[in-house]
Amino acid sequence: MQEVKVLGVGLHAFGKTGDAVVGNKPVTELCRKAVVDALKDAGVQWKDIQAVSAASSRFSGGKGWGLNGNDIVEEMGSTGIPVYNLSAGCAAGGNAFNIGYTLVASGQYDMVLVMGGEVMPKGFIQTSGVEEVTDPEFLRQRCVGMPGPSFWSLLARRRMHEYGTTEEQFAQVAVKARKCSVHNPYARFQKAITVEDVLASPYVSNPLRLFEICPVSNGAAATVICSAERAKQFSGNAVTVASSTVATMTFDDGLPRGLAAPPPADATLHSEAKLAVTKAFDQAGIGPEDLSLTELQDNTVYYELAFPEEWGICKPGEAESLVAAGETTPTGKMPINPSGGFVSFGEATTAMGVFQVCEMAWQLRGESGGRQVPNAKVALSQTLGLGGNATAVILKK
């Protein structure tokens, strides 16, 4: 295995169809901007890229087959390079990064582009639309009627029961997220908000409110990764990939993903995320205590409380008091989502795993401005996708 470096990163700012940021740009145009920025940041040219690992979108581009990597190769110039299109629900960007990483680490290629981008349909993410009674997702929506936010609020309600979490404490997490995104020009929401603002926003699914869940967004992210040997030829800013992992759920974690589940074997609900993160720690020889910051998948504020506990970054039931004490801010002891997170960006599903790599690289390079974690040395990111998919990445200076 050869050491892998993140040589360059690029984002297209996130927005909503029709707004001043993304307007009606098609997904390939969003991706092109991210890719051009990543190439420029890396100091390489398109023709230097030896392979593309792309997240497959179900919603936009890709010729309707999730061939989003092929779209970008055609857009940038068809050079005959291999393209891998990866599908893993909201974890697809993380999966694409892992495959790109593996292609370089294995020595097969020296320089690979990883990308993801999305133009999302309005409103709740819907099922495929196929009314098939053997599809548990169809059954769950027809017979029960449970869009994503309702699922998240089940978990939030359970946490209130177990730890006495209050609605104010959920709101504090959203306030912290926006405090960060004020300093992030790529974020969709860049305005600071107060606990009162959050509590005045309508319930989407009680106990979770509009400002506490991520809407869908349009956006794109790209990164150029290369071997450590190759990185020496470029001046700059390369950061090291300490580990990159993929995992899926285990049978009896108790998270009701379909209509029913076996009762849980232990207290960890999101087994796929815990497995990915634990493997990332093991492979990197890095522990939770070494982390300068974490970029985790906060589809809702609940996850910012639950995930650090499930992964051993803090103790069970401790997250609320850490948030209240400001310890999850960029200058605290346990910085979480200094980018502003999904709650500030909205979710451009397949871009997210790559977006997290961009933020981690900027943080480790000390280029994050007002949201900079002082002296950041080690960063962890994590995604979670439909089907029990999860990924994790650890980058180090």
Partner: protein, 136 residues
């Protein structure tokens, strides 16, 4: 009005409300809806048979559907806010469903609930039913 299940084959009302699932005779894992084989990685041999269950369970958690959900869910207009619950049944399975409750404020995690079959929506002069959990 004719009373028909929203989806056939998932539950029955005859002899009391029951969900129609499966159970593995080797490891005891319960499945809902029915499964053709046992999916437990710890199970030595899949021995699947029909298994109906219902009765009482414990509410693990609940949520409120404050906005009308997208298709393929169907509901009577005007939309009325409903609650969803996850219930642990003593048969050894955790099940998701709508809650049957008059006052959403009364919902309580940890409370005892009972499986019922109730109307979900009306269409073409028919009443379509689904399973729900009634808080006791």
């Amino acid at each position: 009005m004719e009373r028909v299940p929203a989806v056939e084959g998932l539950f029955t009302e005859e002899g009391g409300a029951k969900l129609l699932g499966s159970k593995c005779a080797t490891c005891g894992t319960v499945y809902f809806p029915k499964s053709a084989s046992c999916h437990s990685p710890k199970c030595d041999e899949s021995k699947i048979g029909d298994f109906g269950f219902g009765g009482k369970g414990t509410l693990w958690s609940y949520s409120i559907q404050d906005f009308p959900p997208p298709p393929p869910h169907k509901f009577d207009k005007p939309y009325e806010i409903y609650a969803l619950g996850v219930v642990d049944f003593p048969a050894g399975v955790r099940v998701m469903g709508q809650m049957s409750i008059d006052n959403l404020e009364d919902l309580k995690v940890g409370s005892e609930v009972e499986l019922v079959i109730e109307p979900l929506y009306h269409e073409d002069d028919k009443e379509f039913t689904s399973w729900k959990f009634k808080q006791l």
